[in-house]
């Protein structure tokens, strides 16, 4: 199995150390969830992988020259473009007009959203907008999909719908996916592998193979959830002992 890898990544913002010797292996065609408290440096790590910002030191293997797709916390749709044009915006440099048209039609059909082809973002709900943003990422020909807390700004109902939408697309169009989240449930439901990061400066605390994804066993889910919670409570206790007390009383 081909591996994508980051090794011993260190990053400072002025004197503030954000990432400390972060090493992660990302399995091809699998979803790796990076789980950690808010503000620990998860997005910084994604930006380094995406090539937006430079690392101070460390190695990145397998990502160079690879096409990547992105889903952000916000949908980042262009308001004056309809669904078709929003998707075609990221495809223009990749294919000609007829190919773009065919690709968009194929993807919209794949997820039964053909009727929304000429809708403008303003006429779509938050959940639907994020679904289009995910569809745009899948329609863009790439081997790696980077997602930065894509379900964060959605309400509970939309979150469930959009999560299912993403899972469906992942089954149909498999990609190597790196998903950053701070929600345990999201990591449990989507990640083949869960990487837990510590408080800032972020270090890899634990890597868990999420057997629940293949087994669908409730027992597996409970065990893995406990492992994650133990690691995260360890994190929280450092910054706020009262949270630890509340958690252990539950």
């Amino acid at each position: 199995m081909k591996k994508y890898q980051v090794k011993d990544i260190i990053k400072h913002y002025n004197s503030l150390k954000v990432l400390e010797d972060v090493s992660i292996e990302f399995d091809e065609y699998k979803t790796t969830c990076i789980l950690g408290p808010s503000g620990c440096g998860k997005t910084t790590l994604l930006n380094i992988i995406a090539g937006i910002i430079d690392k101070d030191s460390g190695q990145i293997t397998g990502f160079k020259g690879k096409d990547m797709s992105f889903v952000f916390q916000e949908d980042r749709l262009i308001e004056w473009k309809n669904v078709k044009d929003n998707i075609s915006f990221v495809l223009k440099h990749k294919m000609d007009k007829s190919q773009i048209e065919t690709t968009i039609n194929r993807y919209l059909k794949l997820v039964n959203l053909e009727e929304y082809k000429y809708y403008y973002p303003k006429n779509l709900s938050g959940g639907m907008r994020q679904r289009i943003s995910i569809l745009r990422a899948f329609a863009h020909p790439s081997s790696i999909l980077i997602m930065d807390e894509p379900f964060k700004s959605l309400d509970i109902n939309s979150k469930q719908i959009v999560t299912e939408f993403f899972k469906k697309l992942m089954i149909m169009q498999n990609r190597t996916c790196i998903l950053v989240t701070h929600e345990i449930e999201e990591a449990l439901n989507l990640g083949d592998k869960i990487v837990i990061l510590s408080e800032r400066p972020a270090r890899v605390k634990k890597v868990i193979e999420n057997t629940f994804i293949s087994s669908k066993s409730k027992a597996d889910k409970i065990i893995i959830r406990r492992q994650i919670e133990n690691e995260l409570i360890g994190n929280l206790s450092k910054c706020n002992p009262s949270v630890l007390l509340q958690k252990s009383h539950r």
């Binding site: 096409d67 992105f70 980042r76 004056w80 473009k81 990221v90 403008y120 303003k122």
Partner: protein, 252 residues
């Protein structure tokens, strides 16, 4: 919504009726054609003006002055707006020019324009100094208001710079310009006519207005005001038609 629009139309008609009513009433009370002409005498003057063999020449000349001036303002505003958004030096160079145009009394600049320029060009320049700052700031706002997150998204997806300019920056500039287009076109026309009244080119609405004033023909002045209002309305209608055809606001 429909009720609201109907109510709006009714109110608009009502306000126009009130203005006409007040006109009739005032002209009756004042009872002096030189100070406040009646509707009838204004209408007669209007027919006289339209029947005049130079009428079309006058209208076309003023409209050309206004349009050429406006297009020059628009062109320069787009160029300087784009340059200001990419270069701090040009942005800072533009700042004192704009401050000068907004703080120095318009009349002072008009007088300078009359001294420096030919009577044909002075009205265009006067329109330009009023409209250029509005258009420049609109273009700059259109560029600076583009969501940086959308630009980052485009960079991450390796979208070409030309596509980004064509699909994000130009629509944003056009959207912002479309909001001020009608009003700035109106301001430009008014300023060009004011300039014409002072510089007195041969064929011009402003010169004609001045001529009517010299003969104390107030009904003629009123008639020209009506013609200017009609031209403004036609301008507005054309702009709306262009906006609708270009479907600029269809996503709103």
């Amino acid at each position: 919504m429909k009720d609201y629009i109907l109510k709006d139309k009714k109110l608009s008609i009502l306000s126009k009726l009130i203005i006409i009513g007040m006109w009739i009433l005032l002209s009756k009370i004042i009872d002096n054609e030189v100070i406040f002409p009646t509707i009838k005498s204004t209408f007669i003057s209007l027919i006289d003006i339209v029947k005049n063999s130079d009428f079309l020449n006058i209208i076309i000349s003023s409209l050309l002055r206004s349009l050429i001036g406006f297009l020059i303002s628009l062109f320069l505003a787009i160029i300087t707006g784009i340059l200001s958004s990419v270069s701090k030096i040009i942005y800072n160079l533009m700042m004192p020019i704009l401050n000068f145009l907004s703080s120095v009394p318009t009349m002072a600049i008009i007088i300078l324009a009359l001294i420096w320029l030919d009577s044909e060009y002075a009205p265009m320049f006067i329109g330009f100094i009023m409209v250029f700052p509005i258009l420049y700031e609109t273009v700059l706002k259109g560029i600076l208001s583009v969501n940086s997150k959308i630009i980052t998204m485009a960079q991450l997806y390796n979208v070409g710079k030309i596509t980004v300019i064509k699909d994000i920056y130009i629509p944003s500039i056009l959207l912002n310009l479309s909001l001020v287009f009608t009003s700035s076109l109106g301001i430009n026309l008014k300023m060009v006519i004011a300039g014409e009244a002072l510089s007195q080119p041969r064929f011009a609405i402003g010169s004609s207005l001045q001529l009517q004033k010299m003969y104390l023909n107030t009904s003629g002045v009123f008639a020209w005001i009506i013609i200017i209002l009609l031209i403004s309305k036609i301008f507005k209608f054309i702009v709306e038609l262009i906006k609708r055809n270009l479907k600029i606001n269809r996503w709103k």
